[in-house]
Symmetry: C2
Amino acid sequence: MSFLQKISSNVKNIKQLEYSALAERTNQIREELRQGVRKPYGDVIDVSFGDPHRAGLKPLSFVRQVLAACLYPQLMNSDKLPADVRHRAQRLLESCVGESVGSYTATAGIPEIVQRLSEFITRRDGGVPSYPENIYISPGSQWALTNILKILVNTDGPSKTGVLISAPCHSITTLSILGLGAVPIPYYLNEDEGWTLQVEELQRALESAKKFCNPVALYIINPGNPAGPRHVQSTSSMQEVIRFVSEKRLFLLADEVYQGCVNGDNSKFVSYKKVLAEMGPPLSDTVELASFHSASKGFTGECGLRGGYVELVNLDPVVMKHIHTLFTTGSCAPVLGQIALDLMTNPPKPQEPSYPLYHQEVQHMRTTLAENGKKACEVLNSLPGFSCQPVEGGMFAFPRVFLPPRAIQRAKETGMQPDTFYCMRLLEEAGVLSMPGCDFGQKEGTYHIRLCIVIHKDIMENLLRHLANFHQKFMMDFC
Amino acid sequence: MSFLQKISSNVKNIKQLEYSALAERTNQIREELRQGVRKPYGDVIDVSFGDPHRAGLKPLSFVRQVLAACLYPQLMNSDKLPADVRHRAQRLLESCVGESVGSYTATAGIPEIVQRLSEFITRRDGGVPSYPENIYISPGSQWALTNILKILVNTDGPSKTGVLISAPCHSITTLSILGLGAVPIPYYLNEDEGWTLQVEELQRALESAKKFCNPVALYIINPGNPAGPRHVQSTSSMQEVIRFVSEKRLFLLADEVYQGCVNGDNSKFVSYKKVLAEMGPPLSDTVELASFHSASKGFTGECGLRGGYVELVNLDPVVMKHIHTLFTTGSCAPVLGQIALDLMTNPPKPQEPSYPLYHQEVQHMRTTLAENGKKACEVLNSLPGFSCQPVEGGMFAFPRVFLPPRAIQRAKETGMQPDTFYCMRLLEEAGVLSMPGCDFGQKEGTYHIRLCIVIHKDIMENLLRHLANFHQKFMMDFC
């Protein structure tokens, strides 16, 4: 019937994740539970995504109070909201066109917020200067990344553009690259050494890719999702990466959305921009860098509001002009997402009335994350056939599962990837929704599952108990 | 310095609008005013965009109350909010993952909201059925349109894909088409007959385009932006369009975001889907249609929240599968934008406590829009060198300005398009920020300006007074 015979190969390259079958089955299971079907669990524990509110953590009161007051300014007439909340909301509304969060803003973002983001970055990086004209706010960091990729990917010539990405890597990045007609080039992180990044592996991946595409950029996510170099990369490793991209003339895409989530005793987040600046010229003047951040991650965790930004460093002014056009000819980012970014990067100060509660809530999340990370590793590593690297940053555990050959065989018979098969059984029998490693990229013959650990402590305990019981039964069934 | 020599021609095709110089100058003028520079106006009247809150109209209280309660559920414990608001917020939160608007939702949209959207469409179209599986929520209708364009535009073959668009047309649509490497093919609306659409003109545009591209779709915006067929298209004209796309095997893109903004005495919005259904088979079973709507437009006017949707009709299941993948592999639309869509299409019912105020606020906007439209036409048509078609729908007046040859000459000397030159003088001397017709496409040798008329009545009067004074002086200066 259709005359749409010819869908672009770029579109055809975008495939559903294996996870989508799990999400679909979860909806069915929930419907069955509603209809009274008896199962060994009362509801599904959903740790598939990295959003803290999904599994029991509460939003930060300060953030929600300011946002509610911006939406419904009549709330500012009541003294039920702390004075600093009302003051903050008033000031934010004055930055909105027509004093309403319902108006379009400048498409690069509300200028006052962009200015404050640059001040936050300067503070964070110990004085390395940041300039508002290099910052663009977007509906989430992934959106900004896709825009920068549009600039990097050339579709005119005969050879395809390549982008080096870690394996494992967040799936949306891979899909963005494919959707633009470019080629993702996986470089494998070394799991046995805590998911470290090794320059020799970057070198190998780059050389092998040169045979079939034109590699122009290196994408790194630090702290990692689903895993990363010891989850938080060391400064010396970052310096190696910077020298590598400089020598190979690659653009550096630094996804730093988990910068607020670092919990290892010896781990500390340092931005690529800071490390680059400290390496001095010529590197600090020449390496082209885009750094991404988001209100969806860290302890703010406002994924549903959609707000992120990119900061650009050392770009050619001609390229910046095209980037500016790309970011300023569409619609603006959601205004409440922009405000959430501002609140995340400018939390209440110690002398302000909202500070004590804010501090307490953030501390609670921090403790939860650290304890959950430790607990998850302990329990998972105690199970036969599981191996989990320490979680010192980010929001996920990404343990390896050594699946018995009979399980792999059964998976093949059912047309599933082996780890999807495992995740499907885990969902069906234990009511735990996770993501399979195959959606992130992994070494041939290895299998993983991803679990979000920024969840309520009690849910974490439940989850681990269910998982442990299930796993022991699974291993018995297939050994 | 840069190794980014080769930016794709698609990206290079995206150009800044002429308007951007006006926006930049507005920021400077506002800064000058803040610093005490004396001007013949105290602030700039900004009627450049179609967002009601920009120029003095207030958001709907019901919408803002529900949104605030969803963000900060503690508000539901107070009886300051009407019972139906609290009930509505509670129900919405139960549809959110983890009962938080901060969680990701299903990427196609919150299922309960998608279901209610389909019920709204069915009601609106007098019973023509709508199915939730054909609806996708997105961060604004333009985003959904770009996704559908990705499916329509083929970049693999040697010949470019063409999309017929009205001239004048909303600039973001043109830029989306260019950004995907396709060709916008303008068909001119007949200004003298109230911006009517004529099938002979579609025919002409299509035939001339076949020489250099492969036309696959027809884009129509009804009610129009900046102008449209008598601003609201007649059913007979829509039937002609449907027969045309069927005969020429074109996909029909119906941008219906202004469906809530119809104010002419004899005008009524009817959707393309309804007209198509009433034409019966074979047309009603075969014409492929995408219809777009948005929470940014109409009397809800929540542009800053970013929520829109597309409904697809008669698509090949294989194509639908690709569309589904495209809409479900990224991040979800902003949750508050999704909720705004739900509230727009399910306003309070007459027996509910919020109804009286809601009804009063909407009526106020409706009256304001109708009166502003009439008033604008009256005043503009009374000025020498102005001609304005009646405004019976949409949110804009798009008068033609007959610029004197000396003004056109002067514009050329300053490197500006003639209507940009006019708008710049209007801004500089009268403090009115409008958009020039050249950003929308217009017949060679004609010049227009676009003014948003969904603004406070007093601001409208001020605007027209300033504009009239300025225009008389401008014409004297250049005649």
